[in-house]
Symmetry: C2
Subunit: 349 residues, 2 copies
Amino acid sequence: MDDSTLVCPLPVNRHPLVTIAHGGGGRLMHQLIEQIFIPAFNNDHLTARHDGATLELGATRLAMTTDSYVVQPLFFPGGDIGSLAVNGTINDLAMCGAQPRWLSAAFIIEEGLPMEILGRVVQSMRSAALAAGVALVTGDTKVVERGKGDGIFINTTGIGLVDHALDIRPTSIRSGDAILLSGDLGRHAIAIMSAREGLSFESTVESDCAPLADTVRALLAAGIEIHCLRDLTRGGLASALVEIAEASRSSLTITESAISVSAQIRGACEILGLDPLCLANEGRFIAFIPRLQATQALDILKIASGGAMAAIIGQVGDPSPSPPVLLTTPLGTTRVIEMLSGEQLPRIC
Amino acid sequence: MDDSTLVCPLPVNRHPLVTIAHGGGGRLMHQLIEQIFIPAFNNDHLTARHDGATLELGATRLAMTTDSYVVQPLFFPGGDIGSLAVNGTINDLAMCGAQPRWLSAAFIIEEGLPMEILGRVVQSMRSAALAAGVALVTGDTKVVERGKGDGIFINTTGIGLVDHALDIRPTSIRSGDAILLSGDLGRHAIAIMSAREGLSFESTVESDCAPLADTVRALLAAGIEIHCLRDLTRGGLASALVEIAEASRSSLTITESAISVSAQIRGACEILGLDPLCLANEGRFIAFIPRLQATQALDILKIASGGAMAAIIGQVGDPSPSPPVLLTTPLGTTRVIEMLSGEQLPRIC
């Protein structure tokens, strides 16, 4: 850190107050990070603009990542705040190419939460941690008065081991790289939405919430030279692509017909006025892979849990100071993909 | 972790709901940890019942610790939620005997927080991190609706390096060890209380919020064989002593006249009906040191910032399955020190 840096300029005057959209994973959150957090804590880890930091300790490389979970409702089809808090942080470590090892868990509980709910959430965290082979090693509990919280918020912070020589980050992507998507889109967001709003579909839409580290390990074990990974949480595929395009200063082109969205999710999006490309997922990621290894990598993604609909969805174009993300539609037309500017679905994770 | 363990028994039926006191650092929080968290996440790190976990990575030892900060008000004499969030977590690393290196920061912001407040808090975190020589390497931002949070909550999680061979934890203390206290008690709690309730004293009481890692480094550098360290946050000196007595199964005896409490803090406690031994501090700790090194260690504590009133306050007695913490009063009588059972001052950190 360099104390001479000008710190904390306020975001554009249009936003003197923090809004829900500042937490939405889209343009406003991006501005908050760029205008408040990065200038204040200026260091190479943050300026890499990745899901976590890679830390060097002699010859050992570690990854560190943190996330707070404020999802509502606490329990939803396919998961709950506990499994989400474990898998979400494990997945951010996996996106750094790290093998998740240790988690901390910190609870902010609203007074009056039934002890039985806390017990179920903790049990779910335990199961998710066991399934992923990580140990939950330290914790904290705070209680706030009724009306000053919302049931339970959970922070998990993870440490993983980076035991390969790759530098998996946006700036490592290269012109010509293939962009792979690990499965179909939108299940987590629509599962939360249906639980929250009491919507019902012909069959229950379950969250795709799942750990991704084993899939990344399989890619690495096969010798795939991964350039960048990003899980598609808040802001969805659209925000992930725009963030990576901006951080790497590379244009990206994707093909709409290659992106899998189930008929049920697509129908829900039409009814609710949502864009599947902006929906949050908790078990899907994109990978930037050298073109020559794309088919081999796709085969690995397809046999992973939830990966039946994995696909090569696009490629990296030329460097550009203001690079666009372009979507080619089935009609052959092209549209520019923008980062979500407002907030489609708050409190999704 | 062992999946066969019986998990998540509910705490005593008297408490079907989480109460404010479950976050108070006293007996109820202790029960919550013992009855819900430790059985679920059963592992050696948690069962050490220390402020953080020590993690082994080949020949390297790391410490990891997490804390969420929910203090109200956000700004108080001597500090704010930002400096507290950095120093509090650094101090938990220091209590593991670790050199703090990296922090994560995760913000849960209530919609409507003035951007200017966020800027000031972040600036304060920056200053505290610079002062302590730690890098804030990764972060997260969530926004919740008005009335579902309280301004801002901050989680920080820290990683430190353990570069000595000592095993600093409750089970390392030995009969005959001296108990040292690093300064006077109660400044943080009374500063918060006066800011919250609009109390005024002859002169402003400032929080003792400060980083402790350099003081611990100085003890280690002098070759002091530290057995255990504990900072005196929620629950204060009383809870820290009882926790360590229980975890180490050793009786402890302290001398009331050796414990420094300023006249101003003592007066405030009398008016407010508070016990100085249960007040939260954010820049004070106790150290368990072999008797022969106690004077040398005390000299180091006394020259540290805030350490003018440091003292040897007691000693470790014999092992016992149900060990008491005994306080000898100036009158020569003895009373048993209990862990705080309710909550003196909520939202203190």
